[in-house]
């Protein structure tokens, strides 16, 4: 459903960036994308309400995985605290929800909230690299988790929010099918924005930093500022995921900032090994393993998730092999 992110149209004619992987026929991604999109849109008419709400959760995680991918896939910095910005976004949206139930406004406010939170904490985070970055973002995530427990409205109980209205004049969305379609539309919108980001010169510089930071510095750029900008963008995307999260569950609690959510997002990004489409697929796969297949296996979802992580560590990931210098043994 997010195959629109696959780079490459126009690459054959002009010697511009992203002219990789010529072996795949040009029409294949387009056809696969159309089929996936049709499947995604038609899902509410195909499966029951439970699976639809799971699919919506999967989309929320896909957005969070894209946020993680901006950092680990482009800049080579593995974040383990993206759920914190999701929670900030979710609480922002929940606060806005007391004023208006209009979804897009909640989404924008949550994006801004996540970005501001990331801008403040990012000053600390982007000083670190590699494993240290992992630790710093983990620490920041836990701090936000603790702060949500202590000070957020509702405390550890969390806050319930009213159903979201997609556009002015429409009724509030109560049925999971409509919520799912709203989340799908928002995810596609965010996906398009991320696709543009990935093709920008900014992304090229981030990849340069991941490979050899002093080299980018020697071309006259300030790596710290670029990384901070990437961190803020990633925080904004995570915040948007927060707004979608309360649209799905109508509920936000400190548990949304839990480390397990961050780890899932990072793992999904790693499964995607550098590609945004891959990160989304990974997120949906992991949510399916945790909640859906886990339900079929009498509640062993966490076990299955753990096995997925292990499998991921030993699977041959050829694309990641190209990026060995990026993660996580990179030295500044």
């Amino acid at each position: 459903m997010t195959t629109t992110l696959t780079p490459s149209p126009g690459a054959a004619t002009t010697p511009t960036p992203n002219s990789r992987r010529r072996s795949i026929p040009v029409w294949l991604p387009a056809v696969a994308g159309a089929v996936a999109l049709a499947g995604a849109v038609g899902l509410p008419w195909l499966v029951n309400g439970y699976v639809i709400s799971l699919a919506a959760t999967g989309l929320v995680m896909a957005v969070l995985a894209m946020s993680a991918q901006v950092l680990v896939g482009l800049a080579g910095l593995p974040p383990l605290g993206q759920a914190a910005y999701l929670a900030v976004g979710a609480y922002t949206a929940a606060t806005i929800a007391t004023v208006t139930s209009l979804g897009p406004i909640q989404l924008l406010a949550a994006t801004a909230g996540g970005a501001v939170a990331a801008a403040v904490t990012g000053l600390l985070a982007v000083r670190a690299r590699g494993t240290t970055f992992l630790m710093v973002t983990f620490g920041l995530g836990e701090l936000v988790h603790a702060a949500a427990n202590a000070w957020a409205p509702g405390g550890s109980e969390g806050v319930h929010t009213p159903p979201v209205i997609a556009l002015p004049g429409l009724p509030a969305m109560v049925r999971p099918g409509w919520v799912y379609l709203y989340v799908l539309a928002c995810t596609l919108l965010i996906g398009v924005a991320v696709a543009l980001l990935v093709r920008s010169r900014f992304a090229l510089l981030l990849r340069g930093i991941a490979a050899h930071e002093p080299r980018v510095q020697a071309t006259g750029h300030h790596p710290g500022r670029l990384l901070l900008a990437a961190y803020v963008l990633a925080g904004g995307i995570a915040g948007a995921a927060g707004a979608l999260s309360i649209a799905v569950t109508r509920y936000v609690s400190p548990a949304d900032a839990a480390m397990g959510i961050s780890a899932l997002a990072l793992a999904a990004a790693l499964i995607g090994s550098g590609s945004m489409t891959g990160a989304c697929a990974g997120a949906i796969l992991l949510v399916a393993a945790r909640d859906w297949a886990g339900g079929l296996l009498a509640g062993h979802g966490t076990t299955l998730l753990g096995l997925c992580f292990l499998l991921l560590a030993y699977l041959p990931r050829h694309r990641l092999a190209d990026l060995t210098c990026r993660f996580p043994w990179r030295r500044p």
């Binding site: 010697p15 010169r201 090229l204 020697a218 071309t219």
Partner: protein, 511 residues
Amino acid sequence: MTTPSPHPNTNSPLLRLEGVSRSYGVRHAVDEVSLDLHAGARHAIIGPNGAGKSTLLHLIAGTLRPTAGRIRYAGHDIRRWPPHRRARAGIARTWQHPALTRPLTAAQNVLLAVPGQRLAALRTDPRAVAAAYQALTQVGLTDHADLPAARLAYGDQRRLEIAVALAGRPRLLLLDEPSAGLTTGEITGLTQLIRALPADISVLLVDHNLDMVAAVADTVTVLHHGRHITTGTPTDIRDHPDVRRVYLGATPTSPPAPTNAASACPHPTGAPVLRVRDLRAGYTGAAVLTDITLDVRAGRVTAVVGRNGAGKTTLINTIAGLHPAGPGSDIHLHGRSVAGLDTRARARAGLGLVPQGRRLFAGLTVDEHLALPTPHPTRARTVTPRQVLDLFPALAERRHHRPDQLSGGEQQMLALARALVAAPDVLLLDEPSEGLAPAVISHLAAIITSLANRGTAVLLAEQNLPLALHVAHDIAVLDRARIARHVATADLRDCPDQLHDLLTIPATATA
């Protein structure tokens, strides 16, 4: 990106270093170096390992800050400028090892460096693309523009680095060992490339390849232990007695006259313990060693000498199993082939390595260093740390000190002791004299000789020719990836100039 000089006086240098120093604690990596570089200059910095050449480039590029002195560039004091600001002012650089974004294509790598592009730009500015292709044309890589950098041959990666540097339209180009790892043909191409650069680009290069330096540079500065020795034309430099002295370690006659301890060997030449046949090795396609054939006998010291970059360390590492040997290579230890074994198995079979730069364990004390390696139960010989420490009285007094609390000489002794605790039959020594004072070197020489007298076979890779002449029974000269000569030391002691000529600039190479 331009910082026009406030004084458009052609006589004022583009870059001026005034007493620039960089120290790490008490060690001076660069010590009061002053240098003027005029616009359009082709200037080279040479010197032995650890002379501070790369550090000096880092100081100019801004990746390191000087601890003293001033750096003036185009009329500005740039001492406090961060690297990206210096880059925007026109200082471009390359690294000793290719510093490329490997998953990106060659063209994308160059595009990263083209100035004046918007960050949010989705479509690359056609002018930037043109500039990138111009830089690729300058180094002759247009055919590979769409290949990922990781897929380029090593020599092409080095050229791509230069294209990336040129794409920033520099006024000053800093090249850190551009010829490292290149074949002779590629070096010729590189020489032509640098010579063909426009005259408004000043070039400052650091290189060990003296042939290339002579062909490229108009002026050469020699550094030694961070100090400026002399500056002059390549011809002046070649004949300068001080340069011959520092570049080869010490004067040929300065250490104590060769004693006959080495020749009075109690072990008559027996069957070689270590046999190396047709050994080849290289780095990502660039051959560093070809057809190396070498025997090391018990109780004898074989020295491998050669210029920097000749492949001495690669040879030692390939024998130790740290670097993969090429196809057809054969390494026998005690008549058994060890070519297929990993480093650990070779160490168990009796190979001991004292690596270049010592590679001590930073957090461990002397005692802990010596407690780590033990002779494998299958080995006949056993050695206790106490016996080893008897060889090094100075270390025995510092058993609870960590490496950073030891002097350079003590560190080297510790590295040697660590190898000896495993009771090796063959000891591989990689530049043991590097960075050591003459008195310590003579102590080291005595230890190496006594080890050989006890029956250990020693393979010594050494840049310090007097030390090699002093301790070795025979000397192999490594030049252009091959063993150019292999002679008994006794034949050489009488006319050391022979070796000097092999190791300094060959007469044929001065263009």
